[in-house]
Structure formats: C-alpha cells, structure tokens
C-alpha cells in the first residue's frame, strides 16, 4: 500500500532563510498525527506545502500517490490554514455553501452540508451572521468547519485550538477523535497534552529539520546498551515529593532507569517482557512505604518523550 503522504527531500526557503531543510518522511492513513515544534520550526510551511499554498524550493510531496496540487486531490484534502479569514461581506452559510458547491454538492445539498459542519462546531445559531460579527474563537471554529466539509480523507489542522475556550477546545478534540476513523488528521499545536490525548503519532520539527516521527508514548530508548531492546514506560506522580522512593523503585524487577522530572514525578523505564506486572509491583511498593500517589500512567508524556532532559 502506498503512503498517504510521501515527502522526498522537501525544502522551502524564504530568501536566504531555510524554513524546511530536505525533510523526507512517509505517513500512512489512520490515527491522528501530531506535528510539534517551536515557533519557526517549519510546521506552517510544511502544512502550506502539503496544501499547495506555496511551491517547494526543491524536493517533492505526494499525497495519495499524487503530486501536491494535482487535480486528483481536489476535494480530498481539508485544511485549517493559519490566520485565513472569510469574506467579511457574506454570511457564514453563503460562504460555506459556496465552498460545498465547489466540492460538487448540489445547491440544496450544499446548504445541508454547510449546516452540518456548523452544527459540528456548535455554530448553527450564527449561520446567518457575517464573519465580522464573530469572536476570534468562533472565527477559528468556522474555519475548522470548512476544513471538515465533504468529509475529506486527510485534514490538516494548523493550531486548531489556539485561542479557543476550554469547552470549545474540548469539542474540537472530540470531533477529531470521532472523525478519525474515516479521516486522517494532522494537527499542529503547542499544547502537547492536548496532542497526546488526540494523536497516536508525533512528528517533531525543529529549525526546519525532521527530528522524529514516532508513536506517542513509546520509544526505543538509549538507556540500555542493547540497541535492539525496546523499553516501556510508567509515569508516576506523587501527592508529595519523596526523594527516598526513587532508589526503591530502581530496585524493582525489570526497571532499567528512573528519571526524576520534578521532585514529585518519576519516569520509569522498564523491560516489559521481563516483568509485565511492574505497575502492580509499584503499587505494592507505594503501599508498603505509605507513599501517596496522584497518578500512574502507562507510557511517558509527549513532552517528556520529545524534550525532557531528566536527572537520573
């Protein structure tokens, strides 16, 4: 099966500044994918190239086997572009139904489709408003609604929840999760805990380079000398800091390494094949030592996975 997205030596320069440097990767369709990286890492540029908003300086990007910008891709990709605004003179329904008509809907069906996506974004009651009458968060939701129109196979969301209140951000996450069966989402955001909840893979860009494309929560770790050994993780959060427990956790069977993230948070790397019940051993240890815990999480957080420099 060919990859959903295939990028080969993709580069983009703005004058002398290289926004993307020869990145190559393949992504299969399926669960949502997180795109992370600091400001200026090249996330929006990558989205722009995949959406055909701009041409690559060199290299090639293919989606569903077709070169980006090919007529075969029309209507199969949805995108939330950063900072794009609708026409201030037309109502939401007028604009969304027009976009739906361009996607092949009849006049009547286009109105239904526009109403459907507005309903998904909880904007049904403002369908007769113009974009200028809406708040920043509502404008963002309208732009997300247009990305979902026609149920495209691939949806690129560039910071979909930035500027949204918690309830609406939650709704966006919920929609992404619900629709991810038929649609593959690629979501960029600075909110790592949000991405962690929505996505199963992460793509990490930094200074225009692809640092990692991997599953969230697991990684082939460098702690062990055996490069082929894949370690699993438990994240332990305590009610109160307790430095003594650190060494005792290290003594547990199969534990390879215990990193201290904060005084009250430990990341435990272990060999799951030699002890599948480490979580139970850990609970027993905590009970025996009368240490109260807040959370035990399978895996490590996305933030830890990508950025953490821990103390051992």
């Amino acid at each position: 099966m060919s990859a959903m997205i295939e990028c080969i030596n993709l580069s983009k320069s703005y004058g002398n500044k290289k926004a993307l440097k020869n990145i190559s990767f393949e992504i299969q369709s399926g669960q949502p994918i997180a795109l992370v990286g600091p400001n200026g890492a090249g996330k929006s540029t990558l989205f722009g190239l995949l959406s055909g908003y701009m041409a690559a300086t060199s290299g090639e990007a293919r989606i569903f086997g077709h070169k980006v910008g090919s007529p075969e891709l029309i209507g199969r990709i949805g995108a939330l572009p950063q900072d794009a605004l609708f026409d201030p003179n037309l109502t939401l329904l007028q604009q969304l139904s027009y976009l739906a008509r361009l996607q092949g809907y009849s006049r009547i069906d286009s109105l239904k489709e526009a109403a459907r996506v507005l309903e998904l974004m909880q904007l049904a009651d403002v369908h007769k408003e113009k974009i200028t009458a809406l708040s920043h968060g509502m404008k963002k939701r309208v732009a997300i609604a247009q990305a979902l129109m026609g149920s495209p196979h691939l949806v690129l969301l560039d910071e979909p929840t930035a500027g949204l209140d918690p309830e609406n951000a939650r709704n966006i996450r919920q929609q992404v999760t619900e629709l991810s069966g038929e649609t593959t989402f690629i979501v960029s955001s600075h909110n790592l805990s949000e991405l962690e909840r929505m996505c199963s893979q992460v793509m990490h860009l930094e200074q225009g380079e692809l640092k990692a494309l991997q599953a969230i929560g697991s990684v082939s770790d460098m702690v062990t000398n055996d490069a082929s050994q894949v370690l699993d993780y438990l994240t332990l959060r305590l009610q109160q800091k307790d430095s003594d427990i650190h060494n005792k956790i290290k003594q547990l069977n199969s534990v390879q390494n215990v990193s201290i993230k904060h005084d009250d948070e430990f990341i435990i790397a272990y060999d799951r094949q030699s002890n599948i019940a480490l979580d139970q051993d850990l609970l027993k240890l905590l009970a025996a030592e009368s240490v109260s815990y807040r959370q035990i999480i399978q895996g490590q957080s996305l933030e830890d996975q990508l950025f953490m420099k821990t103390n051992n």
């Binding site: 722009g48 959406s51 055909g52 908003y53 701009m54 041409a55 007529p71 891709l73 029309i74 209507g75 199969r76 990709i77 949805g78 995108a79 572009p81 900072d83 794009a84 605004l85 609708f86 026409d87 003179n89 037309l90 007028q94 027009y98 976009l99 739906a100 008509r101 361009l102 996607q103 092949g104 809907y105 489709e113 732009a143 247009q146 026609g150 149920s151 495209p152 196979h153 038929e182």
Partner: protein, 277 residues
C-alpha cells in the same frame, strides 16, 4: 460521505464567476463604485446624451452642441439614424473601460491578503479561480452595459418611437462591441491583481500603464519606428477610431482587444499558478 469534486472544470469556473458577482455587489467598495457608476450614467443619459441626440435630430438652433461634437471628432455620429445610440456609443466606448479599471481592481488582492484564497485552492484549480474571477467581472460589466443600453433604448422610444425596431437591432451589436472593448481592461486588472499587493496600487498601476506607456512608446518610436508595434498592447488603443465609425465597422478591429485580453490573461495565470497564497 466523502464528496470528491467530480464536476466539469467549467462548472466550477462558472460557480466562481457567480460568486464574484455576488461578492462584488455585497462589498462596500463594490456598492460604492456601482452607485457612482449609476449616478454618472443617469446624469449622462438624461442630460448630455438626451440633449446631443435632440441636437442631432434637430440641427436648427443646436449648432453649439453640434460644434462640440465636431470638436471631439465625433462628427460622423451625425450620420447615425439613431441619435441616442450614436451619443451613447461615443460615451460608452470611453467610460466603460475606464470604470472597469476600478470595478475589477480587486479580483484577488483583498482575498489573497486575508488568506481567503486558501479556502478555495483545495476545492478547485488556480486556473478556475483566475479565469472564474475574470469571467465574473466580465459578467458585471455586461450586466451594466445591458442596463445602460436598455435605458438608452427607452430614451429612443420616448424621443423617436418610429425607430423602435432599428433600436432593437443595433443593441446586440453595440453590446458585443463594448464587451470586447472592455475585456482587455478587465484582463489587465486580472494581471495586476496577481502582481500588486493593494487595490489602490493596482488601479494606480493601470492608469500609469495606460497613460505613460503610450507616451514612452511614442517617444521611443521616433528613434526606433518598429517599437510602435507595442501600441497594440495598450488596451483601448483602437477606441478613438472606433468612436468615429458604426458598430458593425468597429467590429473589424475586435482582434485587437481579443489579442490583448488573451495576452494579459495568459501572463496573469502563469504568475498566479506559481504564486504563494
């Protein structure tokens, strides 16, 4: 349900043209320019055109108006049977292209600046957007032409009802001529919509191209006569001669605006295809 676009490319181009029509009249700028246009035409039709037509129908006692027509080089208009349309022809040949420069100036600039084109490019090709916008503005110009032609016809009926059939016959000919004359101006604005970053700059650049390029070509042609061929790239270069002949003869020069329009559109599309939006 996934709804991939399976429409004919022309269907989408037509949809974009229709939307341009709607958006142009929905915008404050569109309404402003249209209102000015209507006001000027109402004034033109009910004063200069009516009086000139009356003077041409009854030369006695109207020598002043006729001498102005002569002065403007519009003497041949006196031979027209339909005086109202004769004056309309002379005025419309200049006014419609001039207005189209301002009405068609914002084919894409505002939308590109606010990022709105990004909503379109995943649903249709850049060619459909570019040519759809041009078509939309040509429809606007055609609509306005039809309105003014109908009003002129009504004037004709009021003044000289015996020519009702001749009036009906000349309308399509005038319309075709004026659409052709206006098209390179709209096409030039399509090109400038791609090149310029503000509507004001696009309009200004159009005026500069129309006024200054003629002067420059004239100056250069003194030393390099072959360069006078570049006159053919200036929209409206044939209008002066068209104003002095009948619409059927004027059609003979229609290849000039057609060639100009095709050139501007091809150049504009070539640039838009590669432009970052």
């Amino acid at each position: 349900m996934n709804k991939s676009t399976q429409q004919l490319p022309l269907t989408q181009t037509w949809l974009i043209a229709q939307q341009e029509l709607l958006a142009s009249f929905a915008s404050r700028r569109g309404l402003f320019v249209t209102s000015i246009f209507i006001l000027i035409w109402v004034w033109l039709l009910f004063y200069p055109i009516r009086f000139s037509a009356e003077a041409m129908n009854n030369p006695v006692g109207n020598s002043f108006i006729l001498s102005i027509l002569n002065l403007l080089g519009l003497e041949p208009l006196k031979d027209w049977l339909l005086a109202e349309f004769a004056v309309y022809w002379a005025v419309a040949l200049y006014l419609f292209p001039a207005f189209s420069l301002f009405m068609a100036a914002d084919q894409m600039i505002s939308e590109r600046k606010r990022g709105g084109l990004r909503f379109l490019t995943l649903r249709c090709s850049r060619g459909q957007i570019f040519f759809g916008r041009f078509l939309g503005h040509m429809l606007i110009q055609s609509g306005l032409l039809i309105i003014t032609l109908v009003i002129t016809y009504l004037l004709l009926i009021i003044n000289s009802s015996q020519y009702w059939l001749e009036g009906l016959q000349i309308i399509p000919l005038l319309l075709l001529n004026l659409i052709l004359v206006t098209s390179p101006f709209v096409a030039l604005m399509s090109l400038l919509s791609v090149l310029m970053n503000s509507v004001r700059m696009a309009s200004l650049m159009a005026v500069i191209i129309l006024v200054i390029s003629g002067v420059i070509i004239n100056m250069l042609a003194v030393y390099f006569p072959l360069l006078s061929v570049f006159h053919y790239w200036i929209p409206g270069m044939q209008v002066e001669s068209m104003a002095q002949v009948s619409p059927s003869i004027a059609l003979l020069s229609s290849w000039i605006p057609v060639l100009q329009s095709v050139s501007f559109l091809m150049l504009g599309y070539g640039l838009f295809k590669r432009q970052a939006i």
